[in-house]
Symmetry: C2
Subunit: 334 residues, 2 copies
C-alpha cells in the first residue's frame, strides 16, 4: 500500500478499493457500510434531522483533537441541537496527494473513537484525491441523520421574552487551541480544544422535561454569532451579563495577546440553550451532572426590547450591542 | 457584496449570513432550508437510502455541465441506483478565496436547475472558504436522502448466473469532455458530458415490474469498474460482448489519441442494470422510452464461471479478462 496517498487512491480503481477495504472498513465496520453499495439503506421513521458540514481546519492536528474527531463531533452536535438523537453519518474525504498513510489512519481512528463515544455509525462515504497544491492536506465532509424525539420542537426562531439563556461552559477553547497551534504560540498553560460530542448532554437537557426553545453550538462566529442568530430568527432581544460568561484564564490571556474577543472565538464542545424561565434551574442541574456540562451557567435572558439585537451589560456597568462578526476573525478554525 | 469570495465569507459572521441569505436561499428556497437551523427537519418513513460524494472535478466548467450540475446529478444518481426516489440533498461548499461571485452564482443556478429537473430539494448546507492555494477554486459535497420503494432489493451483491447486463447508452462521454477541456484539446466533433439525473430512468425500470438485481452508474473506474464490483460482490462471473458496447465515434477517436480505454472512462449519465433474464426485453423497451435511455442495449450476461471476474468476447473473437483499473487513468474527473 505504500506510505503516501497517491492520486490513484482516488481513481475509483483497485487502489481506492483497497484503501476502503483495508483501512476504512475494518475501523468503521457495520452491516450498512459493509455492503459497499452506492447508498446505505436504513430503516428510519418519524421526524428526521439532516445536516452537513465540511471541515477545513488548519492545522489538521491541534491540542485536544484533529480534523477526524472534529468532523464527527461537529455533525453529531448539529444533529443534537435540533433535538435529534444522532444515528448515522456519512464521511467523505478530499485528500491532497502525498498525505502520509499514517496520518490518515490516525485521523480515521480518531473519527471512529468519536463516533463510538457518540454512539453513531458511519454508514456511507467517499474518497477523492487531488494533486499536490490543490487542497491543504485533508478536508472532511460529514453529513448526519438523527431521529427527533416526539414532542420536541427546537428552533432558533422559538425564543420568547422571559426565557433564560444557558451556556454549558467556558468559551473560546477550540479557536484558541487551533490558532496557537497554527501560529506556533506557546502559553504557560496550553489551551486544549473543547471538541466533544454533545448528544449525551442534550439528552439530559431534554430528559429534564423543561420546554427547550433553542439549542445551538456556538462554533464559527462564536457565542456572539449564535445569540445574534437566535435574536434575529426569533425577532426578540437578548440581554447577556458579561460577568456571568465563563472564560478560562489561559483563553483570556491568549485573546488579549492576539487581540481577539472570546465572544467571537469558535467552540466545538459547548452549547447555548434558551429555555422556559420556570425550568432553568432544573436544566442547569441536569447539565451539571454531565461530562460536558459541568460548567453550565445562566448568562442572560430573552427580552422584548431591541428585537434582533444582543445587548451585553458590561463589567463596567454599561450596555453595549454585541453585533455579528463582520470581517474574518479566525479563518479555517473548523 | 463585491465581486470575489473573501475569507470572511466563510467566517460564520455577517458576510456568511449575507451570502446564504441573498445568494443561496432565493435559488433553493424551500420551507426546510428557510429555517436556517443547524439541521433540516424532515418527515420520512420506511427504508431510506443515504449517500454522499465530494466533487473535485477540474476544470469546474466543462462541455455539457459544471461542478454544480455534477454534484446534484451524481448524488441523485447514487440514490437512484439503490432503487430509491431521491428526495432531499445537502450541499456543502469549500471555496478558494478569490473565486468570482459570478462563477459561484452560475454554478449554484446550475445546481438548482439540476435539482429542479430531478425533483429534489436542497434542505441544508454549509459554506467554507479557504485561503488562496489551499483548494482549487471550488469543491462541492452533496449528501442525499431517498425513499426506497417497498419490495425493491437492489444491491451489487444480487447478480445471479443467467441474468442479463443492460447498459443505458454510449460510454466515456463525461471523462472525455472533462479531459478535453482540461488539456485544451479540440476535436472536429466536440464531446459533451452526459451528466444527467437518472431518477426518471430508474423509475421506468422499476415500473417495468421486472426483478432488478443490481443498478449502478459507472462513474470513476468506468464500465469496467462497475462490472468488476458486481462480479466481486455477487461472487459470479460477467461476460460482456465488445461489439455490443456502444462508444460514440468522437469518444473512440479521442480515446485512441489519448491512449485511453473507453471501458475505464467515467460516465455521469449512464447506468448498468443486471436484470432477470425473462424480463430483459421489457426493461430495454421501458428504458428506450426515456430521455436518458434511448441508447439502451444488452451487453452481456452473468455466468457461474470465473467468479469475481469480468470476461470480454473481443471483436477479434478472443476472450480477455477486464480487470479493475490499477493506476490512475483520469484524476479529478468528478
Amino acid at each position: 500500500m505504500g506510505d503516501k496517498i497517491l492520486l490513484a487512491h482516488g481513481s475509483g480503481g483497485k487502489l481506492t478499493h483497497d484503501l476502503v477495504a483495508k483501512h476504512f472498513l475494518p475501523l468503521f465496520d457495520n452491516s450498512f457500510l459493509r455492503q459497499l453499495d452506492d447508498s446505505a439503506v436504513l430503516d428510519l421513521n418519524g421526524r428526521l434531522a439532516f445536516t452537513t458540514d465540511s471541515y477545513v481546519v488548519n492545522p489538521i492536528f491541534f491540542p485536544g483533537g484533529d480534523i477526524g474527531k472534529l468532523a464527527v463531533c461537529g455533525t453529531v452536535n448539529d444533529l443534537s441541537m435540533s433535538g435529534a438523537r444522532p444515528m448515522y453519518l456519512s464521511l467523505s474525504l478530499i485528500i491532497e496527494e502525498g498525505l502520509s498513510m499514517s496520518d490518515l489512519n490516525f485521523i480515521m481512528r480518531s473519527a471512529r473513537d468519536a463516533a463510538d463515544e457518540a454512539g453513531v455509525k458511519v454508514v456511507t462515504g467517499d474518497t477523492k484525491v487531488v494533486d499536490r497544491g490543490s487542497a491543504d492536506r485533508l478536508f472532511i465532509n460529514t453529513a448526519g441523520l438523527g431521529v427527533i424525539r416526539p414532542g420536541v420542537d427546537i428552533s432558533g426562531s422559538n425564543a420568547r421574552p422571559g426565557d433564560r439563556v444557558i451556556l454549558s461552559g467556558p468559551i473560546g477553547e477550540h479557536g484558541i487551541a487551533v490558532m496557537s497551534q497554527r501560529e506556533g504560540l506557546r502559553f504557560s498553560s496550553p489551551v486544549e480544544s473543547d471538541c466533544a460530542p454533545l448528544n449525551g448532554l442534550v439528552e439530559a437537557i431534554l430528559d429534564s422535561g423543561v420546554e427547550i426553545r433553542c439549542l445551538r453550538d456556538p462554533t464559527r462566529g462564536g457565542l456572539a454569532g449564535t445569540l445574534n442568530e437566535f435574536a434575529s430568527a426569533s425577532k426578540v432581544g437578548i440581554r447577556i451579563d458579561e460577568k456571568s460568561i465563563p472564560v478560562g484564564e489561559a483563553v483570556q490571556g491568549a485573546c488579549e495577546l492576539l487581540g481577539l474577543d472570546p465572544l467571537y472565538v469558535a467552540n466545538e464542545g459547548k452549547l447555548v440553550a434558551v429555555v422556559d424561565p420556570g425550568g432553568a434551574g432544573r436544566v442547569l442541574a441536569a447539565m451539571r451532572e454531565c461530562r460536558y456540562g459541568g460548567g453550565a451557567v445562566t448568562i442572560g435572558e430573552v427580552i422584548a426590547e431591541h428585537p434582533g439585537r444582543v445587548v451585553m451589560s458590561t463589567l463596567m456597568g454599561a450596555s453595549r450591542i454585541i453585533d455579528m462578526l463582520v470581517g474574518e476573525q479566525l479563518p479555517r478554525i473548523c
